[in-house]
């Protein structure tokens, strides 16, 4: 399939598709980051993760509408507000769900899967009742449109760069939070031994609640980014859940770096293949490759050989 392209062309194609895939990559990274915290650290299978993302997307949609109607002067800056709101809304809902549902199920991971699937159905129907079944899109402020001309052949979309920057920032904050803060230490303590952590005075209930909320909040931000590559409907989130789980598992569930590397390789493979093949074939090949590799290397591709 590469036959009719010269080497230079191919390079440009890979770069173009690579930059075009920036937003997809960012959405994947943010989704997977949230899930890596919830699944990798807490062991909870959150099938409603996509719906938390979509909540963020709807928040962005509402924000865009609100600024357009009432604060047109501030419209260029609305996206920052939208992202913050998406985080807060998804995070708050996450904490509520943790309190009402998840905390009863920590010993039964497969049951969290069923319960959160039920939750996802409820959320989908709630979105449908509130926002309607039709998919909605958001308007971007003008400064985010257009692209930077890197070379003759390569254009980098500005919104892609913006989302990328946000993603990097959030990743750094999360890494700092988990690996360099007191809170992070508490999270790891609770995940490794809940009873012991409780015994040494950590409020495990609070840690669980905050951690789940954090994971969901990040999914909310992913939803904000998602509005740039797709229109938002009640079931849009469901399409992403399998991909996201595969990314987390593929990267080695407990490793944040692995998650990012895995999100990168999967989104780039898919976006590059899409240039040559139909979208569905590209997706099948990507997923098949991931499943195939996982069968050969169940511990994930990027796990360091540290513990067993």
């Amino acid at each position: 399939m590469f036959g009719e392209y010269s080497l230079g062309d191919l390079g440009a194609i890979f770069a173009m598709q690579g930059f075009a895939g920036l937003i997809l990559f960012s959405v994947y990274v943010l989704m997977a980051l949230g899930l890596a915290i919830i699944f990798g650290q807490m062991g909870v299978i959150n099938m409603a993760h996509g719906e938390f993302m979509i909540l963020g997307a709807y928040m962005t949609y509402l924000c865009s509408g609100f600024f357009q109607a009432h604060l047109p002067a501030l419209f260029p800056a609305y996206f920052f507000v939208a992202m913050a709101l998406a985080f807060v809304a998804a995070g708050a809902l996450g904490m509520l769900v943790e309190w009402g549902l998840i905390r009863h199920l920590y010993k039964r991971p497969l049951d969290t899967l069923l319960a959160t699937w039920g939750l996802s159905l409820i959320l989908q129907q709630a979105y449908r009742s509130i926002f309607g079944a039709r998919e909605v899109g958001v308007e971007l402020p003008s400064w985010m449109m257009g692209s930077v001309q890197a070379t003759d052949a390569i254009e980098i979309p500005i919104n892609g760069l913006f989302v990328m920057a946000v993603t990097v920032l959030i990743t750094l904050v999360v890494a700092g939070l988990l690996f360099a803060s007191r809170y992070g230490k508490q999270v790891r303590a609770v995940m490794q031994n809940r009873v012991m952590a409780g015994a040494v005075g950590i409020d495990t209930g609070r840690v669980d609640c905050l951690t789940f909320g954090l994971g969901c909040g990040i999914a909310g931000i992913a939803g904000s980014a998602f509005t740039m590559i797709g229109s938002t409907g009640p079931t849009s989130g469901q399409l992403y859940i399998v991909d996201t789980f595969l990314i987390v598992v593929f990267g080695g569930a407990a490793s944040l770096m692995g998650t990012i590397a895995s999100a990168f390789s999967i989104s780039q493979t898919q976006s590059t293949l899409e240039f040559f093949l139909s979208g569905s074939t590209a997706k099948v090949i990507t997923l098949l490759a991931v499943v195939g590799i996982l069968m050969l290397r169940p511990q994930g591709l990027f796990t360091l050989k540290v513990r067993r």
Binding site: G43, L110, D111, L114, W117, V242, S280, V284, V291, M295
Partner: protein, 377 residues
């Protein structure tokens, strides 16, 4: 008390025989008498899902392997059957207006001029019947062997089976020319010359379906009460202990997974026959996980519970989504949560905890002379 007798391992306990009899009366007597042809066909459709639920009782309830890809096996079984029926419906005579007569219409629409090789065996009914069970079981074997030999289980297995369901759906939808795409394989007419669309045919198929379901219950019961069944429970509990008692744990898991796949495949084939089409919407993530809820509602450990659970959920789905489509998803969602939080053993659990003790108490109270012989619960 006679401890010897408690150790005895009858094929079924009296309660289970009674349950089986009740199920037979319901499927072969009450329902056909009470329902019109349309409704009976609907129940027949529900019962094809019960095959999947039965498999999940063995695989998930008994052995602890949650597969979120049972739709794959249901679909593969159904597609195998549909391919045969489609070929029969696409005789040269029926399709002479096509540019290539004798191939299924959707192939013709997609500019395919010859029957692909993997369609060819489905000209033969015996080969088709073998393929219906063999293809999905073989697929389950490959997936199971790859995963269980490498000790992948639990949540990882669930996620990977779900990914497989997603992949297969995308593949079927994408390869329109070979699979019929999103519409699936439709317009099926005859089985070996016998018109399956008539009311009589549908009634007969309903009874065949019921018979197969009872047969599968008996097979599942045989497995469950054999030592193999107890090993499955033991593995769910302490896998390492089983391994260090000299068992190849992976083979037992593969067996459970393959059995579940074979049941699902039979269900899928019967679905195609009774409903008259097969489409990717029965293969993917959503139907696969819904099938899990059937087993969960019925009670993941109970064969009979799984069947009643399937009937109940589907009956509720039809009723609610007809009259309050908005409410149905809320209801289904709430059902998932309720079953996990409040009734982890489903209907069967409620029966065992609340109904059975009361019945036994009453039975004991009536003939006062009866010796004390309460069931070991």
């Amino acid at each position: 008390m006679k401890p010897k007798a408690l150790n005895d391992n009858p094929f079924m306990k009296p309660v289970e025989w009674a349950s089986l009899a009740l199920l037979c009366v319901l499927i072969f007597g009450l329902l056909p008498l009470a329902l019109d042809g349309f409704r009976l066909n609907l129940v027949g459709k529900y019962l094809t899902y019960a095959f999947v639920a039965l498999g999940l009782v063995i695989c998930w309830g008994t052995c602890g392997i949650l597969s979120l890809g049972q739709g794959v096996f249901f679909g593969l079984g159904g597609y195998c059957m549909a391919m045969y029926l489609k070929l029969e419906a696409s005789s040269v005579e029926n399709t002479k207006i096509q540019s290539t007569p004798g191939i299924p219409d959707f192939m013709d629409w997609n500019q395919i001029t010859a029957l692909p090789w993997f369609w060819k065996p489905f000209h033969s009914l015996p080969l088709t019947l073998i393929a219906v069970v063999l293809v999905p079981t073989l697929f389950a074997f490959i997936v199971g062997a790859a995963m269980f030999k490498r000790r992948v289980g639990g949540t990882y297995f669930a996620i990977i089976t779900q990914a497989i369901a997603a992949i297969l759906t995308i593949l079927i939808v994408g390869q329109q020319g070979y699979t019929g795409g999103i519409n699936g394989i439709t317009d099926l007419r005859t089985l070996h010359g016998w018109d399956i669309r008539t009311d009589t045919a549908k009634t007969i198929l309903y009874f065949v379906n019921g018979g197969l379901l009872v047969a599968c219950v008996l097979v599942a019961q045989f497995v469950k009460r054999s030592k193999l069944g107890r090993i499955l429970v033991a593995m769910r509990d302490k896998e390492d202990r089983v391994r260090f008692s000299g068992y190849g744990v992976a083979s037992f898991k593969i067996f459970a997974f393959c059995l579940a796949a074979a049941f699902a495949a039979i269900g899928g084939a019967m679905f195609t026959l009774q409903v008259g089409f097969m489409s990717p919407s029965f293969v993917g993530i959503v139907p696969s996980i819904e099938m899990v809820i059937y087993a969960a509602v019925g009670g993941r450990l109970s064969l009979f519970g799984a069947i009643y659970g399937t009937l109940l959920v589907n009956w509720a789905k039809t009723t609610f989504s007809e009259s309050f489509p908005e409410l149905w998803l809320f209801g289904l969602g709430a059902l998932f949560i309720a079953v996990v939080l409040a009734f982890p053993d489903g209907l069967a659990g409620i029966w065992r905890q609340h109904v059975e003790p009361r019945l036994t108490r009453r039975a004991k109270a009536a003939p006062a002379a009866l010796p004390q012989g309460a069931p070991a619960e």
